[in-house]
Each structure stands twice: as structure tokens, then as C-alpha cells.
């Protein structure tokens, strides 16, 4: 994506924006652009884009993924998401987020009526296919016939083995990053002829690309190239099917197009994957911690007090920001269960939320025109609590469906599958006229929600400001109940089973733990909590729009949770405070850009230095305070409690002894 912008700006104005920003405020200017003195030729643009790509690739290797070489997969995923956040923010800052059309380097023109089949074939498609296969062939030959290629394959099997044969894994990795970044940059420029350039849309091309790579088992460049072309053909064919009369209108063409990579990835992975990891694939490396909270009720009560105080002292837009923070916290709690406890990296939780939101809104709609949307949406007009409940149920069902591939797919592959699922959900559900009740891309009006006689929308009907107290209370109640539920889950047997599965699926199964059941449980609970947040997001708005549920908004949420700490409620609190448009936000767009860039960098740092998140930094401080406290205790009584000690709870909850 970034090199493609490099090409675009070189062609248009002769400027090359470097992938950073003027990060030092004040008189010292950090150079952020190189001026080539006027628009360059296509070749000049391509060279500039490739240089930019190589620069990025080597920077990633030396500063991000090199240090992470022996880290658990989850850290690499976090770092990748951090890089993504950073580059998207930088691109949005330099170039804006509006999609733009850029003339690429591929030839124009079409061959009409190919082979007398009646269809047309554009020159650029032929050129692109040839380049893909050509690059695939060169790569295949390189890895097959050269010593460096052979050493790379050897190092992939065993980096220690390669060291003993005199190959430095670091140098091999640099070479491969170099190759990879040149190809990526080339691909970025080639895609310009096919699709509009935008930070978000371009990045989603990763989904079909990874689908092709997984098809090739991440090892064969030729299969990947051919598979990618085949997948594109299937996508087009599927989209064309939707043009026929018999095709059900409920499945939009764009939806089926975006579902194809998902289906391919899932099928390929399921056919290759195992229900339990096989002996050679087992790697036990430290995961981010999911510490036991010593006193859940106290934690939740403290949160309740703080929320009540914040709500009482704020009003108007500051209360709206508080509510945004609380809703984000609910969504993060859903990730704590799935990512923190169960270790399954899901990028689809915001999509679960969106499904609940659309279902709840549609079921509650009754055809009354709204002042906020020109569209009139009909529906059964169910009571709002019932519609919300059904929305959460729908999200849970979808969560369980996404869990099915997760039974056999692990680590980064699962993250890709969930990203593909989120992208498919956007096209299949949120842009689906049959679901939204209006034309595709329309904003669905949210009927004024009423729970048991009380109006619980965010907008105060009298003043028109978004600070309705009833809504704040509703969100806080859902947040605190989910928080208590998640904390109890962690100290109960179900949470321990999740941690057991996260730590080691094989030995969990050997002890009679139903790994499949535990994973389904985690996805179900997580999707239900995410669905709750989705309904709350809907109530906070007057209309539902597809952008709210974009996979990248979901990634932002997860990014911030990682920064806070993915396994704990403390992490949720820190993450939620940092959320865009949350309690700490400013209204300036410059601030939003900085947030994206800085959180990206923070995420990478977290992945490398503090995999347990910022919340884990609090523990040593508390311990130190306790130690000092004990040292000065006049009665000499031990005040320190063990982490697993829940005796304080038994007095409060007599059910423990029953």
C-alpha cells in the first residue's frame, strides 16, 4: 500500500513521502519528503516505489521482526498489527483516506471476444497474470537451485542447523525480506490499474493474497501464483453468478466475491489441519500472562464507583466520550476471553458486534420514518430488549461458526481467517440490502430504543445532546456484569480449562478436557459479549453505517487492548481509556492521526519488550508497595496474600461453601 502511494505521488507531483512524520514539534524539521523536481516517468515512479518498499522491508526486519524471531506467534501477530496501524495512519496523514484512481504501469486496451467466447479480456489482466507467474517461476528457481535459496529452506526447518552449516539466520532473513519487499512493492504498483488506492481498501488485499499463499502451504511460489489467479477467476465467476435471475437476492455479488478467499482458506486449512497439534508442531513458548484478579467483586465495585463519579461530573460531549470508552471496554472484554484466556487471535470481534447491532436494529424497526435517514426500514417491530437479545444470539451463532475453522487452524493462520471473516461479513451482512433494509451502503436508521418504559438511546430527546443518563447507566451495567462474569470465569474451572487449552492442547485432551468444547465455549462467550457491545454501539447512534464495523476499527480495538494487556481487566481499562473518541480524545484530526501512528509504535514495542501489556507493569509496583508496607507493619502480621488466595471472597459469597 505505501509504495503504491509512493508511485502515485511521484507520478503526480514528483514527491516521495517517507514513511514517517515530523515527530519533533518545534523548529527542527525532520525531512518527510524527497522532491524529484516534477512528475517522474512511470519507470522513475516504479523505481522510487521499489526503493521505498525495500527501505520499509529492511526497517521491519531490523527493528521489528528480527528481534521477535524467537517470540511466540502471538507477539508476531501483535507486531504485525502494530505495523499495519502505523503505516495506515502515516498514509492517511500524508495522502488522506479518500480512495483515488491512479494510472499504473500495465498496458491499456482489451482483446474483444476472446476465443469467440463472447467475453472481453483486458491487456492489463494478461500482463498481470504473466508477471505473477513469471515472478513465481523466478522465485521457485531461486529457492530450488541457488545455495542461498537452499539455505533459506534449511533455516526454515531448523535455524540452529543452518547456523552449524555456516549460514546466519539473520542474514538469510535480511535477504528474504529484501526479496519479499521488492515483490510486495511491485504488486502494490501493479494493483493500481485494477483497484482504487486507499489505505484501508488496499490493505484488505492481504486476505486473498494470504489465501493463495496458504493454498501453497506457504512454501511453493508457483502454486501461490497459480492459486491466486485461480482464486481471482473463481471470485469473478461467483460474482457473475449473482447476476442471474435464479440467484437469491439475499446474497449480494460483492459479498460472494469477498467470501471466496475465506472459503478457500478455511477449506485448505481444515483439510491440512489437525484437531490436536501433532507431535512435531508443538512449541511451548511463553504467552502473554492472564493473571488471576485476587478480588473480582472489589475490582468491579471500584470500577462502578469511578464510572459513577465520571458520569456525575461530566455531561454533553464528555459524557458521550465516557460512554464510547465504556462500550469499547465491553468489546475488549470479549477479546480478553478469546485472545487472553484461550489464546485464539480473532480479528472478527467487531464484526460479531456489528451482526448483533444490525439484527437488533432490524428486528426493532417497524417502518416508522426517522429524521436521521432518508430510508424507511420496515421490520417486525419487536420490543427493544427482545430484539437486542436476539441480536446477541445471532452474534453468538456467528461466533460459533467462526470457531469451526479455529478447531483446526492456529496462530497467525487463524488471525487471517478471522480477518477474512470480518471482511466477508462487511460485504455479506452490513452491505446487504436484505439485511440493512435499504439499498447497499445506505445508513440504516436506529429506532429510538426503549427498555421497560425508559428511553435508553444516547441522545437526550429534550436537549438533543448525547448524554442521556439512562443510556450511560445501561452501558455501565452491561460493562460491569460482563467484567464480573469474565473475572469469575478466570478464577473458575472454565477459565482454567481455557488457559490449559491455550498452554497445551495435547495434554489438555489427554486429561479429559474437551478441547473442541472449550474452544466453542470461548468463541461463544466472546461473541456474546461482543454482540452486547454491538447493540450498545447501535443505541449510541442514530444510523448504522458500514464504516463503524470495518475490520480495521476492530484491529484498533484489539491493538489498544494489547497495549493495556490482553489477559486482564486492568488491560481492558488502560486500552479503553486510549480508544479514539474516548475519554482522552481531542477533537482535532491531527490528534487522531498521531494516535494511530503512536499506538502502532507502542504495539510493536509492547510485542518486543512487554508482551504482558502495560497492566503487567502495575503488579511489580503494587508488590513493592506491599513489601514496604509489610516491613513497617507494627504488629508483624503477614499482610501479603498469595495470588491464588480467594479466602477474602468466601465471606462475601457464601455460595462458595455450598
Amino acid at each position: 500500500m505505501y509504495p503504491a502511494y509512493g508511485f502515485a505521488t511521484l507520478r503526480e507531483s514528483g514527491q516521495l513521502f517517507l514513511p514517517w512524520f515530523d515527530f519533533i514539534p518545534g523548529p527542527i524539521d525532520v525531512p518527510v519528503r524527497i522532491d524529484a523536481g516534477g512528475p517522474t516517468s512511470a519507470l522513475g515512479g516504479l523505481v522510487g516505489a521499489l526503493l521505498l518498499s525495500v527501505l520499509l522491508g529492511l526497517a521491519l526486519h531490523f527493528f521489528v521482526f528480527g528481534p521477535l524471531r524467537s517470540s511466540p506467534p502471538i507477539s508476531k501477530i501483535i507486531a504485525s498489527l502494530g505495523v499495519l496501524s502505523y503505516l495506515q495512519a502515516i498514509a492517511a496523514h500524508h495522502f488522506g483516506t479518500r480512495p483515488r484512481r491512479v494510472e499504473g504501469i500495465l498496458p491499456d486496451g482489451t482483446i474483444e471476444n476472446v476465443f469467440g467466447l463472447g467475453g472481453n479480456l483486458a491487456h492489463d489482466r494478461i500482463a498481470l497474470g504473466a508477471i505473477a507467474l513469471g515472478v513465481g517461476g523466478v522465485l521457485w528457481a531461486y529457492y530450488r537451485f541457488t545455495m542461498t535459496g537452499l539455505a533459506t529452506r534449511a533455516a526454515d526447518e531448523s535455524s540452529n542447523g543452518a547456523v552449524m552449516l555456516g549460514w546466519s539466520p539473520g542474514r538469510l532473513a535480511s535477504i528474504n525480506w529484501l526479496i519479499s519487499s521488492v515483490i510486495t512493492g511491485l504488486a502494490g504498483v501493479l494493483f493500481l490499474d485494477l483497484t482504487a488506492l486507499s489505505p484501508a481498501g488496499y490493505t484488505l488485499l492481504i486476505v486473498p493474497a494470504l489465501g493463495a499463499a496458504l493454498l501453497a502451504n506457504l512454501t511453493s511460489p508457483m502454486v501461490a501464483a497459480a492459486g491466486g489467479i485461480a482464486m481471482g477467476m473463481v471470485q469473478s465467476a461467483a460474482a457473475r453468478l449473482a447476476g442471474f435471475d435464479w440467484w437469491p437476492e439475499a446474497i449480494p455479488a460483492q459479498g460472494i466475491r469477498s467470501a471466496v478467499p475465506l472459503i478457500v482458506i478455511v477449506l485448505v486449512q481444515i483439510s491440512r489441519g489437525h484437531l490436536l497439534p501433532i507431535r512435531t508442531t508443538i512449541v511451548t513458548r511463553p504467552q502473554p500472562r492472564a493473571p488471576l484478579a485476587p478480588r473480582p467483586l472489589l475490582t468491579v465495585a471500584l470500577c462502578a464507583l469511578v464510572i459513577a463519579w465520571l458520569a456525575a461530573t461530566s455531561g454533553g460531549s464528555s459524557e458521550a466520550r465516557l460512554v464510547t470508552t465504556l462500550i469499547a471496554a465491553i468489546l475488549m472484554l470479549s477479546s480478553v476471553v478469546l485472545v487472553g484466556f484461550l489464546g485464539q487471535v480473532s480479528l472478527a470481534n467487531l464484526a460479531f458486534a456489528g451482526i448483533a447491532a444490525y439484527v437488533a436494529v432490524r428486528l426493532a424497526s417497524d417502518g416508522t420514518p426517522s429524521e436521521y435517514s432518508i430510508f424507511v426500514v420496515d421490520g417486525p417491530g419487536l420490543p427493544d430488549p427482545l430484539a437486542a437479545l436476539l441480536g446477541v444470539v445471532a452474534a453468538t451463532v456467528v461466533g460459533l461458526l467462526v470457531a469451526l475453522p479455529a478447531l483446526r487452524i492456529r496462530g497467525i493462520h487463524l488471525a487471517v481467517v478471522t480477518l477474512a471473516a470480518a471482511a466477508a461479513a462487511a460485504q455479506l451482512v452490513f452491505a446487504n440490502p436484505a439485511v440493512v433494509g435499504a439499498t447497499a451502503g445506505a445508513n440504516t436508521p436506529v429506532p429510538q430504543p426503549e427498555w421497560f418504559g425508559a428511553y435508553v438511546g444516547s441522545r437526550d430527546l429534550a436537549t438533543g445532546r448525547s448524554d442521556n443518563t439512562a443510556f450511560t447507566v445501561l452501558v455501565a451495567v452491561f460493562l460491569l456484569t460482563s467484567m464480573l462474569g469474565v473475572l469469575n470465569l478466570r478464577r473458575g474451572m472454565s477459565g482454567r480449562r481455557m488457559l490449559a487449552v491455550r498452554a497445551n492442547e495435547r495434554s489438555a485432551a489427554a486429561l479429559g478436557i474437551d478441547v473442541t468444547g472449550v474452544k466453542l465455549l470461548g468463541f461463544g462467550i466472546s461473541a456474546a459479549i461482543a454482540g452486547t457491545s454491538g447493540v450498545m454501539i447501535a443505541y449510541a447512534r442514530t444510523v448504522l453505517s458500514i464504516q463503524t464495523w470495518s475490520p480495521f476499527a476492530g484491529i484498533t480495538n484489539l491493538t489498544l487492548l494489547f497495549i493495556g494487556g490482553v489477559g486482564s481487566v486492568g488491560g481492558v481499562i488502560i486500552g479503553a481509556i486510549l480508544i479514539p473518541a474516548g475519554v482522552l480524545s481531542s477533537s482535532a484530526s491531527e490528534g487522531e492521526f498521531l494516535r494511530g501512528a503512536v499506538s502502532g509504535i507502542a504495539m510493536i514495542t509492547i510485542a518486543i519488550k512487554f508482551p504482558n501489556g502495560l497492566a503487567s507493569l502495575g503488579r511489580p509496583i503494587i508488590d513493592w508497595v506491599k513489601m514496604r508496607w509489610n516491613a513497617t507493619d507494627p504488629h508483624g502480621n503477614p499482610r501479603d496474600r498469595g495470588v491464588g488466595d480467594t479466602s477474602g471472597q468466601i465471606e462475601i459469597l457464601p455460595v462458595e461453601s455450598g
Binding site: 484437531l275 472454565s494 477459565g495 497445551n504 495435547r506 489427554a510 486429561l511 491464588g644 455460595v655
Partner: protein, 272 residues
């Protein structure tokens, strides 16, 4: 006929044309201590993997307590009382030693998670007692609240065995529990293992440590290149010429010397 808790008939496991287990017939009588020995790569762990459902059987049957378990998933076999340990340390690193055992011991219902989220799961005294007993018998009571990563290697091996005990096995399958232990630890472990029989359990042990296997087992099978080449009581196996030739090496007349060699082999290879 004796009452066998585990019976395999013609059990065969094939990896890419190679028979890792070739038509293995093996019985574990209820309440007995049976051992399986063999050199590295003989297919011992593969045999445990096959009967616990971690690798598919290509042919043959496995019967546990009278039931054909060939099509059951690993956790379903464990629920029926067929519990294994792992050669490599496969503990739950995020959980304390006690939690490692509790998670194995606590019974689950489909609605357990609801009770958990409401913090209303009743304390199961029987399960707690079982966990305390398992900690006690393996001498881990003082380390119950430690994290597995904070324990030395030998202690962690014991946690693995204790965890399997907590899962209420009728037959416990021990995959090289003595590998990586020093001689004293290994002998102490042997004393513990015989105690299991007093608690309604049968024991199936595979190990490189010949001394350990010969001293604790009632009956021993010898595996080489995936095939059973001998079986009998420790005395019979000790004197079996086929065993001496195939397993101990033709020139090694002294079983104890070979046993020492086997221990060294286990320690240096750390697995097969």
C-alpha cells in the same frame, strides 16, 4: 482368563509406508503393573499415542474395559479412565501446580461455565481430596502453589504424573517418567509408582531405564522395530536371549550395564 483392562490385537501404525507399530498384541490385566521397553525409535511412544488417540491406527483393535475405543477422541478416552503422561514436559505453564491438577480433576457439565461466571460452582470436596492425595503421593504438597516454570526439571516430571493421577485414571500410561531424572530420583519414583496399584489403578509404563522397569513391573513386553519380540515376567525377560541380542546388544551380557547405558542414552537424546 484374566480380566484385562486394556487389550490390543494386531495394532498397527503406519507412517509413510513404515510400520512404527507392527501388529502389536498386548494386554494389561486389571490391577497389574505392565511395562514396555525397547531401544530408541522402537515405537514405544507411538504405541501410547495410538491407544490414546493421538495417531490413527492403520489396523487392529484397542479395547479398554471391554469397549472398543478405536474411534473415540483423545479426551473421550481420558474420560473413560485411560489417562497418559507425556515424555516431554507438557504442563500448563500459566497455571499453578495445584491448578494443573484441579483442571484435570474437576468434572465438567455443559452448563459449568454459567455457574463459573456467576461464581456459583459448588466446591467438590471429593475432587479436592483427590487432588490433595495426588499432590501428597508425589511429594508435591509443599510446591502446590508454585508455578511449574519455577520448579526444577525433576519436580516438573512429578507434576506431570500427579496431574494424570488427579484425572482419576483406571489405567495410567506413563511415557518415560524417569527420563531426565538422576538415579536417586528415579528409584524414589519407582517406589511411588507401586503405590498406585493400591488405589484401584492399573499402570502401564514405558521407559529407557531398564533398572526401573525391571524392578517395578509385574509383566514386561519388549518392542523392537515396532514388533513385540519378547514378553514375560522381569526374570524371564532378563534371561531372554532375543532381548539380549536385539535390545541390549549382543556383547552386553550384564543387564545392569546396559540399563545404565540406556539411561545415558535417554538423557542425552531427551526423546525419540
Amino acid at each position: 482368563m484374566t480380566d484385562n483392562i486394556l487389550e490390543t490385537k494386531g495394532l498397527t501404525v503406519t507412517f509413510g509406508g513404515l510400520n512404527a507399530n507392527d501388529s502389536v498384541n498386548l494386554n494389561v490385566p486389571r490391577g497389574k503393573f505392565v511395562g514396555l521397553i525397547g531401544p530408541n525409535g522402537a515405537g514405544k511412544t507411538t504405541f501410547i499415542d495410538a491407544i490414546t488417540g493421538y495417531v490413527p491406527m492403520s489396523a487392529g483393535t484397542a479395547t479398554f474395559a471391554g469397549e472398543d475405543i478405536g474411534s473415540l477422541k483423545p479426551h473421550e478416552r481420558a474420560e473413560r479412565g485411560l489417562v497418559r503422561t507425556f515424555q516431554s514436559l507438557e504442563l500448563f505453564e500459566d497455571l499453578s501446580v495445584r491448578d494443573n491438577l484441579l483442571v484435570a480433576a474437576y468434572p465438567t457439565k455443559w452448563y459449568s461455565f454459567i455457574l463459573d461466571m456467576l461464581y456459583m460452582t459448588p466446591k467438590d470436596q471429593e475432587t479436592e481430596d483427590r487432588v490433595n492425595w495426588a499432590l501428597d503421593i508425589m511429594g508435591l504438597t509443599d510446591e502446590a502453589d508454585a508455578m511449574p516454570t519455577d520448579l526444577p526439571h525433576g519436580r516438573r516430571k512429578l507434576v506431570g504424573v500427579a496431574r494424570a493421577l488427579a484425572a482419576k485414571p483406571d489405567l495410567i500410561l506413563l511415557d518415560e517418567p524417569a527420563a531426565g531424572l538422576d538415579t536417586a530420583e528415579s528409584q524414589k519414583l519407582g517406589q511411588h509408582l507401586r503405590e498406585f496399584l493400591d488405589h484401584d489403578m492399573s499402570v502401564f509404563l514405558i521407559d529407557h531405564d531398564m533398572g526401573l522397569v525391571l524392578s517395578v513391573c509385574d509383566y514386561i513386553y519388549v518392542l523392537d522395530f515396532g514388533e513385540i519380540i519378547a514378553e514375560g515376567t522381569p526374570a524371564e525377560v532378563r534371561e531372554d536371549p532375543a532381548v539380549k541380542a536385539a535390545y541390549l546388544g549382543a556383547e552386553a551380557g550384564d543387564v545392569q550395564a546396559a540399563a545404565a547405558e540406556a539411561v545415558v542414552g535417554a538423557q542425552s537424546s531427551g526423546g525419540e
